[in-house]
Subunit: 366 residues, 2 copies
């Protein structure tokens, strides 16, 4: 397989770590990165070390554009908020006037950074959408812009919500027309764990239960992953995407305090369910996702485990199990798989397979 | 994905179970099966129940053609010995003169059953080679016949030996010229467990160790899997393929007795190592395969486990683990994955990707 060029939209926790992990992957060259302030493009390959160092602690991640905007209206499509990270007003270091990616010498300001990526699309094999999910149609709408802008390549996200898959599925035909291979839910869960469930299902002729249970310890990663924490809070029974989006940082801190720093989630709306169903592994209703997020320890509060229970062709019932080592960080389990699925997507795209694919669709098996 | 037609060469333990498991898979139609005595072809789909019932306990599996032949010369290429099963002279029930697949009303005798499959090749998407491995070039030589016979589709085996992969790799160019997508080592180990190792590796930027440890309890399946037992014995330090091939059934029984029915294997020549290396997951020398075969209990003597240890991008060392439920039989763990990889192979073939692929090559990832 030839060299793969890719772009990252969003330089928050996920975008930054994807760039970092890509340095360990042969044949994978990051050529563009943007956030809402600007864009860096270099087809010889971005200098990832410089970009990460220059933007360290310089992440602008409020759900709305915060100090940039006076009104409460929706973010415009050309505003690339970043995932996670400390808020601009939070007192973290800033490199002069530069905010976000513009702090890098490789980047420049742009009124419409996404359009600049689209305009270079013919030289970009894949686009990783590391965008926030507060507007749950932000990623689908961004994909629309690429389709309308004649981009034909891979688009990949690490989103979690089941409902976003439906919104992407609605666009399947326009992706096919454009020649876009859209890979959705390709992080840790959904993503790595969905793939593990699909693989573990191969022993069975009928899968009766998939139980995904995750543990994340996020003490030192907290500053870099506030977006993820906010999104997880939206999964608590008392909240939803809208109410979580409107929480102030102080309110988030209060919720964390209430839970003594470790929040347990049950029956989450994680897209593993619909992604496994669309791949024919099991019914969505047989998939359960839960976990514990501890923002005061780096050690995982529980071991991330996938249990797949089914019936074998010879009539036995059994459970296959996949466990992640406790020492692997969320960032390691999101970004390695995301880049792996990205490669699988490029292969599909080059073979002329367009439309919407989930992680389980990219696995062998029925 | 459209309907997939497939043929099975060999109707021993693996071939029979593959036919059985395929009945649970939508869009997968078995259209041909053969052994050294005859062939059954039906493009409306074989009646698998009839075929399995008619040939039950009627498996002809001696490494050489046994009672059919008076001399000790090598099997001819057109003799499809079957994998596993009781020997013809072993007193198991026979359906009149019919031996093997010919006992089925769907089958007829043939002087050259493999050639008949090749002659129908334009209507067969995939060929599962469930052939014995005593001549370790039997599968490569059979593949040659398909390539020479202008077959262009998927060929898939569940072989174990590392050295056979090299023999197939030598043929890569002729497969590419013919339009053959050859999937090798796509059973349980290598196969399911190789895929699991490739997936588990996604958390890491460097994999330092892959440890595959299997348990098989084969009491009730013993009669049907003598070929597998013989092949496993060849992995003991005192034996090799040649000496194991020449063992009489009584000698095999004696070896089993010596080990009180449970034989432990260390550092086996299982192709997981070369298959993971060729997929870029790790060095072959960092892969270890061992396990315990118990032919006197159906319960597994040990839990089949894959451990993948590596270093994350953020500097941690950890081990991801994949465990098969003890209640899953070897047959369930071989045949489900084999058919899953078969489907993945057909997708590659239809996309114009030819040559030799291992299970890890069919997974997402780098």
């Amino acid at each position: 397989m030839d060299e793969i060029t890719f772009a990252v939209l969003g330089t928050g926790g996920i975008g930054r770590r994807a760039l970092e992990v890509s340095q360990h992957k042969d044949a994978l060259t990051p050529v563009a990165a943007c956030d809402r302030h600007g864009v860096a493009v270099d087809f010889d390959g971005l200098d990832v070390d410089e970009l990460l160092a220059a933007t360290e602690g310089n992440i602008d991640s409020e759900p709305r554009s915060g100090s940039d905007k006076s009104s409460g209206d929706e973010p415009r499509d050309n505003e690339v908020a970043t995932d996670g990270g400390a808020a601009a007003e939070g007192g973290v270091k800033q490199h002069g006037e530069a905010k976000g990616v513009v702090a890098s010498s490789q980047a420049r300001r742009s009124e419409d950074p996404i359009q600049e990526i689209i305009d270079h699309g013919d030289r970009i094999d894949a686009v990783l959408l590391a965008l926030p999910n507060y507007e749950h149609d932000f990623i689908p709408r961004t994909a629309d812009r690429f389709a309308e802008g004649d981009y034909s390549g891979v688009m990949i996200d690490v989103l979690k919500r089941s409902r976003v898959i439906d919104m992407l599925d609605d666009r399947s035909e326009s992706f096919e027309d454009a020649g876009i291979t859209f890979i959705c839910g390709a992080g840790a869960t959904p993503g790595l764990l969905t793939g593990a469930a699909a693989l573990a299902a191969q022993s069975f002729v009928e899968v009766t239960d998939v139980d995904i249970w995750w543990g994340v310890g996020l003490k030192s990663g907290y500053e870099d992953n506030r977006g993820t924490v906010r999104e997880d809070i939206a999964h608590l029974p008392e909240y939803d995407i809208e109410t979580a989006r409107d929480l102030s940082e102080a309110e988030i801190e209060a919720i964390i305090d209430e839970h003594d720093g470790a929040i347990e989630f049950e029956d989450m709306e994680h897209a593993d369910d619909v992604l496994l169903e669309r791949a024919g592994v099991c019914d969505a209703e047989d998939v359960e996702v839960g976990g514990i997020l501890d923002v005061r320890n780096d050690e995982k509060p529980t071991t991330t485990t996938v249990r797949v229970t089914g019936r074998t062709f010879d009539g036995e019932t059994a459970t296959n199990t996949f466990r992640l080592g406790d020492e692997t960080s969320m960032e390691a389990n999101v970004n390695g798989p995301a880049l792996g699925y990205l490669k699988a997507g490029v292969r599909r795209n080059r073979a002329g397979e367009y439309g919407v694919f989930g992680p389980a669709d990219l696995m062998p098996g029925f």
